[in-house]
């Protein structure tokens, strides 16, 4: 499984960014290979409107299976994401990426 986290940094210790569209980074974890990667999304701060759908587009290009985030995507972004068969989990706002992954593994994150 390829799992993507919205995050404020690029490591396991980074805090989850509760925002979807305007998240600073994505941390990408490939469970098969064990590789932890990241994607800088900070250029989104320059987008006046429609940050959600734009980030959703970027995310669907990553071909991730699972998204773990805080508040969850807004209406327009959610519509884009549902096209991509991605499972979305929310409520990880207060956690680090590591904690969010552990909570997800325990099945304790809420499905969006």
């Amino acid at each position: 499984m390829k799992i993507v986290f919205t995050s404020q940094g690029t490591t396991w210790e980074a805090k989850i960014d509760p925002r979807f569209g305007r998240t600073d980074f994505f941390v990408i974890y490939d469970e098969e290979s064990g590789v932890l990667d990241s994607l800088d999304n900070r250029a989104i701060a320059e987008t006046a409107h429609g940050a959600g759908p734009q980030t959703a587009q970027k995310l669907s290009e990553l071909q991730a299976d699972i998204l773990i985030t805080g508040n969850g995507p807004g209406g327009n972004a959610a519509r884009v994401l549902t096209q991509s068969n991605m499972n979305i989990y929310v409520g990880a706002s207060a956690m680090t990426v590591k904690e969010a992954y552990a909570t997800y593994q325990k099945g304790e994150l809420q499905e969006f």
Binding site: F20, A48, G50, A51, G70, Q110
Partner: protein, 298 residues
């Protein structure tokens, strides 16, 4: 640090009057962010000093280079906003009509049209009443608020709160349910919904609550001017119960709100007896709920 966002859906419910009163009551402990930038008016009650300001760019405007333009008129034909007109023999962009979509720049055969970042106003950091700090913005004529500007104002407020070790950021949220509201809400710990007992107040409360619910943010509601219509107030009470929204308070219709405003005072400065007391009780209630939320590790 906790972030409280006050929204209403409908305009005119008293959202900003109450947010300003809460800012006053919170005093030094609270950093205030005014994200209702389209019709910013919280500064009227909180006396900001516009200490620091910075230009803000959002969106783009088309610009035609007359040297490169061959007068083919393609841009004027495809512009669905009728923002390109021929005056005095040359084509030019009507700045107020241009939506910045960029279609004209894309189809121009000589690349005479470029998209220019638009200066829409300024954002400020100000000292306000009671030694607190407010981050706010002022838009130019015909400029509009955006998720970008809201994110900027909120991020600055959070940065200052972290720097000064303040526990609370109080956000006057944007109206409606669009992009700026999504930006206002995302990352919030608690949402205060301010409504009024009118059909449109109720309708917009439901609409904006849909968004809050989707984001999974805990919410409370103040019914302002509750005495205006008992029937609708009762309907709102039921709606709050059904959705497990905390009923923070019913506030009566009171013209002192307006009188206080004309004196540039928050309601708690003007009337510290009955009404002011009720507003203070609401604030204490909000603080108690927020303090009981699980500590966010920021």
């Amino acid at each position: 640090m906790k972030e409280i966002v006050v929204i209403s859906g409908k305009g005119g419910t008293g959202k900003t009057s109450l947010t300003a009163a809460f800012a006053y009551l919170g005093g030094k402990d609270v950093i205030v962010a005014d994200c209702d930038v389209d019709a910013a008016d919280m500064h009227l009650l909180l006396e900001p000093d516009f200490q620091e300001g910075e230009d803000f760019y959002s969106g783009e405007l088309a610009e035609i280079d007359p040297e490169a333009c061959i007068d083919c008129a393609k841009c004027a034909e495809i512009c669905r906003f009728d923002a390109i007109a021929n005056g005095n023999g040359s084509y030019r962009v009507k700045a107020l009509d241009c939506e910045g979509c960029g279609y004209c720049a894309r189809i121009c055969p000589t690349e005479a049209i470029t998209m220019q970042p638009q200066n829409v106003g300024k954002w400020y950091i100000s000292a306000i009443k009671r030694d607190s700090t407010m981050v706010h913005a002022r838009l130019g004529i015909a400029a509009e608020n955006s998720g970008k500007l809201v994110a900027r104002v909120k991020n600055e407020a959070k940065r200052i709160a972290a720097e000064q070790q303040k526990n609370l950021v109080l956000v006057d949220g944007s109206p409606g349910i669009g992009c700026p509201v999504v930006s206002s809400l995302s990352g919030a710990d608690f949402v205060v919904l301010v409504t009024e007992p009118t059909v449109s107040g109720m309708h917009d409360l439901k609409r904006v609550y849909e968004l809050v619910r989707k984001f999974g943010i805990r919410a409370g509601c103040i019914i302002n001017k509750a005495s205006l219509n008992d029937d609708v107030s009762q309907t709102i009470h039921r709606f709050l119960e059904e959705n497990q929204i905390i009923h923070i308070a019913d506030l009566p219709y009171d013209e002192n709100f307006t009188v206080a405003m004309t004196q540039a005072k928050t309601i708690v400065e003007f009337d510290n007896a009955q009404l002011g007391h009720k507003v203070e009780e609401s604030w204490v209630r909000i603080c108690n709920v927020v303090n009981s939320l699980e500590e966010k590790q920021t």
